[in-house]
């Protein structure tokens, strides 16, 4: 989805995910409307434009719509995971900076109180920065189990689709886009984004 559509100026990260689910539902409705119109008359020009002749001639319009709907869902799954990745990364830099400041303040305070710990001056260097969390696996490692497992399943499913459903790359999940939307939104809530 277009970045502007996915996340408008001032809109929240969760809204970006909501927009994708909304767009998916809209596409599904468009498919249903087209399907109903073609059911009413399989031989008009509209049907010929929408359904490839090899399906139309065999009376397999429904088969075509089934495959079309699955493709639409797969595209939106790719989109919702990509958007999740983007909205999280957009905020990771700020979060890392804030965490570093908290640690620095705490270290300074302890030093003043005479309770400095070994390597306290280097403590901020122990904090991960944006470069350390540069992909979805990095985000996954910030989560607690079982959220971590669920995100892993979503990532695997995205990988399975994006690599052509080939052997050994990703894994197909039974989660639908609605489930993924819920899970990714819950993760955003958990990590306060």
């Amino acid at each position: 989805m277009d970045r502007k559509m996915g996340m408008k100026e001032g809109s929240s990260a969760k809204e970006a995910l909501d927009d994708i689910l909304h767009a998916y539902n809209a596409m599904k409705e468009i498919c249903n409307a087209a399907k109903n119109r073609i059911h009413a008359n399989q031989h008009n020009d509209f049907a010929k434009k929408i359904i490839p002749s090899k399906f139309l001639s065999k009376g397999k319009a429904d088969t075509y719509f089934d495959s079309l709907e699955k493709k639409v869902e797969e595209h939106f799954i790719m989109d919702i995971v990509a958007t999740f990745e983007r909205v999280v990364f957009d905020r990771i830099g700020t979060a890392c900076g804030e965490i570093e400041n908290i640690v620095k303040d705490e270290c300074n305070q302890r030093e003043k109180n005479g309770a400095a710990f070994p390597l306290y001056e280097s403590a901020p260097n122990f904090i991960k920065d944006k470069e350390d969390i540069n992909n979805l696996s990095g985000i996954k490692n910030l989560l607690k189990i079982p959220r971590k497992k669920k995100l892993e399943e979503i990532i695997n499913h995205r990988n399975w689709i994006s690599h052509g459903k080939r052997a050994g790359v990703g894994k197909s999940s039974n989660s639908r886009i609605q489930d993924m939307h819920k899970e990714l939104t819950d993760i955003l809530n958990q990590i306060r984004i």
């Binding site: 399907k35 429904d62 080939r166 039974n174």
Partner: protein, 156 residues
Amino acid sequence: MGFDENIAKLVTENKTRDEQLEEAKEVWIHEVGILYKEIENWFSEYIERGDISLEHYSLGSAEYAEFLQHIKIMELTLGRGPVVVLEPIGINVANGFGKIEMHMQGHVDERMFLMLISCGDKDFCWELWKNNEQKMGVFSKEMFKQVMNKWIEKWA
């Protein structure tokens, strides 16, 4: 461990992985075949009367060439009208050894999932799942009839 030993270990490990994969592929082909035969038996009376017909179609794509060769999509035409489709997805799946997607033609949005799972050391069975969270139980003739009947009442 020396270089030669490491190489030997890698060879053994990789051979085992290959063997495991070959075994998983064989199991998948075998179990899908058994399920299809079972479904044919479950509905043999209907099939003999011509009330239900079975057809098989080639998969559009598959994880392995063997699957394209040995595994088909099954379609059950109910009362010469609606069609129930069973489409084997493959073995690269979460939470199981393999997966078949099942839906009434034209209603793929409400598809269900048949998961091949382990039922003991060497045995396998099929579980029907409505989605990732809702397991309906071990797939049986009665369960299949219930699901299809629900679909008929809703859409046919």
